[in-house]
């Protein structure tokens, strides 16, 4: 897959796709909770002012109304910070969206520790864990703008609840123009035979940098993103893990209920033993607050930390 020089904010790609879909006549409404700037929704708002609904700082009502609008025939798309979406309105998520199986698409903005120094009220290191605990909802974590737009497009066509874990920084577009997102599919971005890295969402970029550094030392690393957490091709995860026998999972998420848990369960279910290192925020802890890069460094989920985890797992330390 060819990397492009161009960097793109995932939100920009998603909002552009929303405008395209609205132009095509899809019955969209976008709901925000005073989160117009968080969602970078201005281009949509300008073009479709009567389709942007701002409920104010009221996340419970945001989801209840989104469910109601979908029952009235609209495709509801909510756009607010992942921390408030999954925590403040957790019961609305469970009942009005997941249990009721309403046609609502949830953009979890600035997930993980994107809000770095704003501390744990604003971190969402538990969103995947919370959502996978509920029935029906499909859960996705794109790694670049191209994939984010494609996931949104899939979500708009899928009848039922969808969560999309979003980031707020401009990132290189790692997927080429031929890339086609498919729900469930594991996204192998780089082949390798010595070790497999599974990366969640935008940490793919750090994982690829680590793989390049390891390559320079003669270590051949497979890097696979997991953009589709539910559904998920578990057999493919197993195959990629067993092909190298050494697995490092990296996520800006708690080690409880994130991709470290998911990959471990897949292997355990099959009785397959591999060397395994799970990089993320240790379970039972809130993440440190501070600049995001510093937080990633602290938990060993930046490129250097991932590289080190790989070397340790392969017995290359020192």
């Amino acid at each position: 897959m060819m990397a492009e020089a161009r960097a793109q904010d995932l939100r920009e790609a998603v909002v552009e796709e929303l405008c395209t879909a609205a132009d095509e006549g899809l019955p969209l409404v976008v709901l925000v909770s005073d989160s117009t700037s968080t969602s970078s929704i201005a281009p949509f708002h300008t073009r479709f002012p009567d389709r942007l609904i701002n409920v104010g700082i009221a996340e419970q009502n945001l989801l209840g109304m989104a469910a109601g609008l979908s029952l009235g025939g609209f495709i509801s798309v909510t756009a607010n910070a992942a921390c408030f979406l999954t925590a403040r309105s957790c019961e609305q998520l469970k009942t009005d969206i997941c249990y009721s199986n309403t046609n609502v698409k949830l953009l979890g903005l600035n997930a993980g520790v994107a809000y770095g120094p704003l501390a744990s009220t604003h971190h969402a290191i538990d969103d995947i864990s919370i959502l996978l605990g509920f029935g029906t909802i499909e859960v996705f974590a794109p790694s670049d703008g191209r994939e984010a737009a494609q996931i949104l497009r899939y979500a708009l066509g899928h009848v039922g609840p969808v969560y999309i874990r979003m980031d707020n920084t401009a990132l290189p577009v790692v997927h080429g123009p031929a890339y086609r997102f498919q729900p469930g599919r594991v996204d192998v971005v780089r082949e390798g035979k010595d070790l497999t890295i599974f990366a969640l969402g935008t940490l793919l970029h750090e994982a690829l940098e680590a793989a390049r550094a390891l390559s320079a030392r003669g270590v051949d690393v497979c890097v696979a993103a997991l953009p589709s957490l539910r559904p998920l091709d578990a057999d493919e995860v197993d195959r990629l893990a067993m092909a190298t026998g050494a697995v490092v999972t990296v996520e800006e998420h708690s080690l409880h209920g994130g991709i470290g848990s998911i990959v471990s369960e897949i292997l355990a279910d099959r009785g397959h033993a591999v060397r395994l290192a799970r990089q993320g925020i240790p379970q039972g802890e809130f993440a440190k607050a501070g600049p995001r890069g510093r937080i990633r460094e602290y938990y060993g989920i930046d490129a250097a930390g991932i590289e080190q985890a790989c070397r340790r797992l392969l017995g290359m330390e020192g």
């Binding site: 009502n61 109304m65 609305q92 009942t95 009005d96 199986n101």
Partner: protein, 283 residues
């Protein structure tokens, strides 16, 4: 995409208040028998709301009983989901569900579970049971009607104790802000919640003033009197710009002397002689 389009739907029964009363009696009898057979149920809540439900399904709401997915139907949301027994018995009385189904209430994987489930039962619009959810969903539905130019009305039945959930007040702000005149909330004001009187647990009064200050048109009625309920619901201007609320003053356990106004009958069921006496009192 704005402005109401008149719906061609009518209520399939269009009953007069005295006829609604007769239906209420039948629904109450079903509730007692169903809950007694099931060995569980929120009997007090079911009996409290019976007359309101009867007025909606036999007079006010415009729908075809055999078209639960008709996009132009009026919507009803039972926000106080624990009143589901009264809801099922009303649906059975209206011929929407088979009355024989009532014997499956609360059984394993029943079409009639202990709170409303839209995937299971026709005319359940949203799954409720956790309190404080229905009004937001109703507001979303009401807004959808305006955006899509549909003329349906949205009715939502709230428990009074339920109003202690803060989410209701978020929804009220929104209903008023978005000028949802097609939204009609009804508060089953029986003054009792699970443990005791609402006013001793967490006071709601002055409730009418609070609702009015949130932008609602507020009216009160005897919530166990179909004539009064129909009069108020008919008088609401549902093509206007203010959402409406009916404070329906009800008696929990209405119709059965030893259940009336007793918090202890919130989720109790009549057994043996109690059932016989209760049914006799309804005659």
């Amino acid at each position: 995409m704005s402005g109401g389009v008149a719906t061609t739907r009518e209520n399939p029964f269009a009953l007069a208040p005295s006829e609604i009363e007769a239906r209420s009696r039948e629904i109450r009898r079903s509730i007692l028998q169903m809950n007694s057979a099931a060995g569980q149920g929120h009997t007090g809540a079911d009996l409290s709301e019976t007359d309101i439900l009867a007025c909606l399904f036999f007079r006010m709401m415009r729908y075809h009983p055999d078209e639960p997915r008709d996009p132009d139907r009026d919507r009803f949301i039972l926000s106080k989901g624990h009143g589901v027994g009264g809801f099922y018995c009303t649906l059975a009385e209206a011929g929407i569900i088979d009355p024989a189904l009532l014997t499956t209430y609360l059984r394993f994987d029943s079409a009639l579970p202990g709170h409303p489930v839209r995937q299971k039962t026709p005319f359940v619009e949203i799954n409720t049971g956790a309190l404080g959810h229905g009004l937001s969903v109703a507001a979303g539905l009401a807004l959808s009607a305006r955006l899509s130019g549909r003329g349906f009305h949205v009715y939502v039945l709230l428990g009074d104790g339920e109003l202690q959930e803060g989410s209701n007040w978020e929804a009220m702000m929104a209903a008023s802000h978005f000028m949802l005149g097609n939204l009609v909330a009804i508060v089953d004001r029986n003054t009792l919640q699970l443990a005791d009187r609402t006013e001793s647990i967490m006071a709601l009064e002055p409730l009418a003033a609070k609702l009015k200050s949130f932008g609602f048109e507020v009216a009160s009625a005897d919530g166990n009197n179909p004539q009064e309920i129909v009069r108020v619901l008919t008088a609401f201007d549902k093509s206007g710009t203010r959402p409406h609320v009916l404070l329906a003053h009800t008696v929990k356990g209405k119709g059965v002397s030893f259940m009336e106004d007793q918090a202890s009958w919130h989720h109790k069921i009549p057994v043996g002689d109690q059932l016989r006496q209760a049914i006799e009192e309804l005659e």
